[in-house]
Assembly symmetry: C2
Homo-oligomer: 207 residues x 2
């Protein structure tokens, strides 16, 4: 059982190790991994203990091993497929982002309820109708959903995604959506991020 804050940090270590590996850096210490992320070496060591990894004294962690272990440990050794619900400002940005076309977690389909948007193409995906969400999910072997509809439509979109069989939802709408036990749900709320940033500055950088 890995708590979500630790899972998020482990995902950040995976990204840093992948980038070190592509730069030809074979090993890194917990100090240097931590420094890249603004974390203490002790935090890095504690987190990597979740995946039974310990660095070698004086050498550090082997980047190739860490990448493999982190990918396998979290089911990321295989591709994950997501469907986007809502192709507006945010939706178009996500579909236009090349890494989301073929990365380990890829947005492979998109649906919308607006006839003017249905049929349009973004980054090689053709927008389908909301009614065909169930079919899109089944046909595409899709396990994840991204909600980018207005707040008033977000809960309905979540219900439709759960009914279609997705097991995880990323919600961009500024409301909490309820999902059944067993469905993972996370939330990106840019308005809250901006507000928290202002709070931190108002508190004089105390955080």
């Amino acid at each position: 059982h890995i708590p979500r804050p630790a899972a998020r940090r482990l995902s950040l270590y995976l990204r840093e190790c992948e980038s070190l590996l592509t730069q030809g850096v074979p090993t890194a210490s917990s100090e240097s991994l931590g420094a890249r992320l603004g974390l203490s070496a002790a935090q890095v060591r504690r987190d990597l203990a979740y995946v039974a990894q310990a660095g070698q004294r004086g050498v550090g962690y082997d980047m190739a091993t860490l990448v493999t272990v982190l990918q396998e440990g979290f089911g990321l050794e295989r591709p994950w497929r997501a469907v986007l619900v809502g192709v507006g400002n945010i939706g178009r940005a996500l579909l236009s982002y090349a890494p989301f076309r073929e990365s380990r977690v890829a947005i492979v389909a998109a649906v919308d309820c607006d006839p003017a948007t249905i049929g349009s193409q973004w980054g090689g995906r053709t927008v389908e109708s909301m009614q065909s969400l169930g079919e899109v999910v089944r046909r595409g072997g899709i396990e994840l959903g991204v909600i980018a509809v207005p707040a008033s439509a977000a809960q309905l979109a979540a219900d439709d995604l759960v009914a279609a069989g997705v097991r995880g939802i990323l919600n961009f709408a500024p409301v909490q959506v309820t999902v059944p036990e067993g469905t993972a749900c996370s939330h990106v709320d840019v308005s809250v991020e901006l507000r928290c940033l202002a709070m931190e500055v108002a508190l004089g950088g105390e955080h």
Copy 2:
């Protein structure tokens, strides 16, 4: 001193209270506030104790009082102004979002380095050149910056924002940027969010 996770939850309570108030709901219990956010009543009470608020037994919290206290406690009773650096996919989505034109934390200006983008208008803001960032920040009384440039340009954008005098940065690029002590910096990384979601699903919803 309020830890950042608590500040983030307090910002969520503020949003929920604002929305209850506009629906004409004068009070709410810690249970009902918690239920709207997937948090326990005890967590809500602990957090609101940071701003010296305690609910009345049997009645709960007064929404109008809570909104005022949360806004005042975090410097949100006055407007905050932000500048966007990078007007690409994400940048255009942020500029096209009506709430960011005039909300308590508003994106009032935008800069870019691409001549084809400089001069374009999005949501009533005209994109200026990266060279004029210092002038834009001074002229606009801007305290916050949003980074929406490619990863390779993110650190430079952060340095330019700090040099221009902003005190808080929200970074969308998938790299950590370093800022001096005293500058607040937070990070929205959609790729990490998607990856964490897949991890949660792979771990069988354990989180």
